[in-house]
């Protein structure tokens, strides 16, 4: 077996390699330098020691100032990677993200652009309650000028973050916190995963299951139950939510005739809606069943463990929905 590292280490390695390869890459955020132990989960550990505290800079708790600094530096050629510790805290930096980072290329008529990355972690399952685990990727996917990626493996964590840093426009990297400590193959140095390209994880013929972020692992976890029921599922890790890989999804659903979309965000007005809307349009008359969506129940994330579990999308729910869709229940 090849060398294994955690998803967290993959992100760290990607930042370190990007900073080595290009001295215009910067990292900023709360607690991220080494005197602060490289962040609350140690994801940026070692960077400031290697690259100095001017390039790897701990900030005050001022998310607007953080993204503002990233925007400003990016306008003149730097490639800042700003950390917004948790996705719920993007709510205090929305103006800088949506009205500025995403729009400056357009509003300047292409004179400037913002090659910056916003890394943020989130995800339910750790009993952190209502303000620490939301998935808001649909907001940013709805924002012209933004790109959004949601890695689920060590190789994608590395490869998508590297591509995000290379990208000439603002990219939000949504990191799932509960899978930081999951291990996987150590990515090769310099590995890239192109933005907008999905990954077909398991080929199948009866149903396509599209997912991203941690929910991909739940979908994989559902595979055995699904095939046990005699159903052959094709599992697609979307990897990038904006722009998403329509070609790959359409090709798969054209083949299977059925689509289940599963994500961690709440269902209504979530990213699954866009995928469903496009697929029903493009494959009208070719579907064997309606496109179905799975996601968290429509409520804030509850604290109490049984409620949090009930709220979340898991392998069992995915298996049940996939089997029902194929068996026509």
């Amino acid at each position: 077996m090849s060398a294994q590292i955690t998803v967290l280490q993959a992100y760290n390695q990607a930042l370190s390699d990007a900073m080595s390869d290009d001295d215009q890459v910067l990292v900023l955020g709360e607690d991220i330098a080494d005197p602060e132990e490289g962040g609350v989960v140690g994801l940026t550990k070692g960077l400031s020691t290697k690259f100095g505290e001017l390039r790897v800079r701990t900030t005050p708790i001022s998310e607007e100032a953080i993204i503002g600094a990233a925007v400003g530096a990016s306008l003149v050629g730097f490639r800042p990677v700003a950390e917004i510790m948790l996705m719920n805290f993007t709510t205090v930096a929305m103006d800088m993200i949506v009205n500025h980072a995403a729009k400056l290329r357009y509003m300047s008529g292409g004179q400037t652009h913002c090659p910056l990355v916003i890394r943020t972690m989130t995800g339910a399952g750790m009993s952190t309650g209502g303000q620490h685990s939301d998935y808001y990727e649909a907001w940013f996917a709805h924002t012209p000028g933004m790109k959004v990626v949601c890695p689920s493996t060590t190789e994608d964590a590395y490869g998508l973050l590297r591509s995000a840093i290379d990208d000439p426009d603002p990219v939000m990297v949504v990191e799932n916190m509960p899978i930081y400590w999951t291990k996987g193959p150590k990515p090769e140095a310099g590995h890239r995963v192109p933005l907008g390209k999905a990954n077909i994880l398991s080929p199948g013929t009866d149903i396509t299951i599209v997912s991203y972020s941690r929910t991909v692992l739940e979908a994989l976890g559902a595979l055995q139950a699904i095939s046990g029921a005699g159903v052959s599922a094709e599992i697609i890790d979307l990897r990038t939510v904006q722009p998403w890989d329509q070609e790959a999804v359409l090709a798969s659903v054209e083949k299977t005739g059925r689509l289940l979309i599963a994500h961690e965000a709440v269902v209504p007005f979530g990213c699954g809606a866009e995928i469903a809307a496009v697929v029903q349009d493009q494959l009208f008359g070719k579907l064997k069943a309606p496109v179905k969506r799975l996601g968290a129940s429509f409520n804030p994330v509850p604290f109490s463990k049984p409620l949090e579990t009930a709220h979340m999308t898991d392998a069992a729910k995915i298996a049940a929905a996939a089997i029902a869709l194929v068996k026509g229940e």
Binding site: P60, I61, E63, S127, H132, P300, F303, L307
Partner: protein, 327 residues
């Protein structure tokens, strides 16, 4: 600073001690129960900061409002949140004050004026203004207290809230518990003001800096701020300088805090100091104080047992309390 105007009498001092003892015992018990694995939650210890809410608690009334933060269980207990409601909540049980839905970062207890607990840095302040506005509109003398940390004074919400409170002359009291660290980051690295209280001047608001480990000084500051607020004279910013003896969150060994700094801070632990002072001032005997401590331990035994015996909510409860009934 005019702390001389308000001096606590013996019974008040004893009451502050009683609160401090409760808070300290509760913190220690929380960490112990987490260590045994019987509670799973993010826990933000307030050990070292007990004097601040203890003084606040004796000055405020039940009807006054409190908006506090993730590191705020000491504030809530001092304000009157019952131990059993607290413990059942942090255990995620139906008998918790929020039926288990809120958890340790989102406790509410309307009966005792614990209106909001937030996990978002800075957010306690703008909401406290709204409660203060309500009081002003109704011609009541209720005050609204927002507590927050030193590093929170660098976020936009702090600025907007203090400015609004000042121009609207709201009975809001902004209580900064300056423990000199924000997560892993030292005060100077994130906060450009020498003192948080200095920032009050930017809003033409009185700013009081007090020793956050001295209940007597704190009492004076709270009395002054509360009197001003109740008299309709507007808001006050209180900076209470203290220290956080534990990591930011349970599990964090605070390796980033220089050893000497931590040791010096612990040498000023407000609890043994105030305890000794009460005895020296003959306000209470060693036995009396020990009895208080023992009573708290007994209440905690009871609360923990109650909490862990309380049932978990049914899975269907996940989807209720999202919207109310439309009349």
């Amino acid at each position: 600073m005019s702390t001389n105007t308000y001096v606590p009498d013996g019974p008040t001092k004893l009451e502050m001690f009683r609160k401090m003892a409760l808070l300290k015992a509760n913190d220690e018990r929380s960490r112990k129960v987490i260590t045994t694995g019987r509670l799973i939650m993010p826990y933000y210890s307030y050990r070292g900061q007990e004097a601040i809410p203890a003084a606040m608690g004796v000055v405020l009334k039940d009807t006054d409002y409190l908006c506090t933060i993730y590191r705020g269980i000491h504030d809530m207990l001092a304000k009157g949140l019952p131990l059993k409601s607290l413990w059942a909540e942090i255990a995620g049980r139906v008998e918790g004050t929020c039926k288990g839905k809120g958890g340790p970062m989102h406790l509410t207890d309307v009966e005792h004026g614990v209106m909001v607990t937030t996990g978002i840095v800075g957010a306690s302040m703008p909401i406290a203004n709204g409660l203060a506005w309500a009081s002003q509109l109704r011609g009541e003398d209720r005050v609204a207290v927002a507590t927050f940390g030193d590093a929170a004074s660098n976020i936009g919400a702090f600025h907007e809230a203090l400015n609004l409170a000042s121009v609207w002359k709201l009975p809001t009291i902004f209580v900064c518990q300056n423990n000199l660290w924000g997560e892993h980051t030292a005060y100077e690295k994130s906060t450009s003001a020498k003192r948080i209280a200095d920032r009050a001047a930017a809003y033409c608001m009185p700013g009081i800096c007090v020793d956050g480990n001295d209940p007597v000084e704190l009492y004076g500051a709270f009395c002054e701020a509360v009197a001003r607020a109740r008299a309709g004279e507007g808001p006050t910013l209180i900076e209470a300088v203290t220290f956080r003896f534990q990591g930011h969150v349970f599990g964090d060994a605070s390796g980033y805090i220089p050893k000497e700094e931590m040791e010096a801070a612990k040498a000023r632990d407000p609890y043994p100091l105030f305890r000794a002072r009460l005895i020296a001032e003959a306000i209470a005997t060693e036995e009396e104080l020990s009895a208080i401590e023992a009573a708290h331990e007994a209440s905690l035994d009871e609360a923990v047992e109650f909490a862990l015996a309380s049932p978990f909510p049914a899975a269907e409860e996940a989807c209720t309390d999202v919207y109310g009934e439309v009349a």
